[in-house]
Assembly symmetry: C2
Homo-oligomer: 138 residues x 2
DNA sequence: GTAACTGCAAAATATTTGCATCCTT
DNA sequence: AAGGATGCAAATATTTTGCAGTTAC
């Protein structure tokens, strides 16, 4: 809770219930969250719109980042360290478990550089690995 | 057009106008296409539903594959070679140009292996690189 | 007190499903 | 002729916008 307040203050965001509770949820959740997960997992029932706006604010301030998916949802996860407003450095690997369907950020696994064809200049890369996670191996 | 028919026959799909025209569009398009692009770029106006179903059929048959995005749309692109029904091998890098917003498949750039933490078993990986493409460098 | 945030209502957009009709084989 | 694909209608779901009331500072 202390961390929650610190994060909000650091980003000069006013302290409101929805922000506190949603950020709290991110802090205590291991994996990534979709919009729907947030609606499900908060005791207080915020308006859908508030959730949208809160996620947008957090993203703009570099508190969370988006994870690309192939199922037209957006997943969000906490930015661990170097993210700043407008300029994300979430160059770590995201792992999606095909069994339990959890998505986790592997903050220690850095996305490797690839050699692109002539004329292409990379700015940012994202990597998503699918497979079985350490809870689901058998 | 000949290729279009071959692809449909190879996958035992019946030859219909929508399938021919949508597949044709993929064959002549360099980058990836979103649902909306397809509705825009086909002269004949198919029902939205038909486009959904056609994309689903193509995906299930390994004719096209989905590209992960962070803006809750799904992008689709032709599978160049080794895709088979139910088992995609689209382990190449996707490049999204931040300027012209085109997404292209870099079929020759293979997604590098990464070392995952203990217990995680990778099955498939996807990589999306953002930057400026060879048309937009200045 | 003021600016910013929330909740409600409603609009706009996107996706899915059922069913009758039409087309491919 | 039979099975499958399409188009339409409608149900569902998702996202965005405007505005009035409330809250944080």
């Amino acid at each position: 809770m202390k961390e929650t307040l610190e994060i909000l203050k650091r980003n000069s965001l006013s302290i409101t219930d929805s922000r506190k509770i949603i950020l709290e949820l991110f802090l205590k959740t291991e994996g990534a969250l979709a919009h729907a997960d947030i609606e499900k997992n908060t005791a207080v029932n915020f308006d859908r719109v508030t959730v949208y706006r809160t996620l947008q604010t957090f993203t703009e301030n570099g508190i969370i980042h988006q994870i690309p998916t192939t199922d037209n949802t957006i997943l969000y996860a906490l930015c661990k360290d170097k993210c700043e407003a407008g300029h994300h450095h979430d160059e770590h690997v995201h792992f999606v478990c095909v069994n339990c369907e959890k998505t986790v950020c592997m903050d220690d696994v850095v996305v490797p550089q690839v050699k692109l064809p002539k004329g292409f200049v990379p700015l940012q890369s994202a990597m998503v690995v699918k497979g079985t996670c350490n809870d689901c191996k058998n």
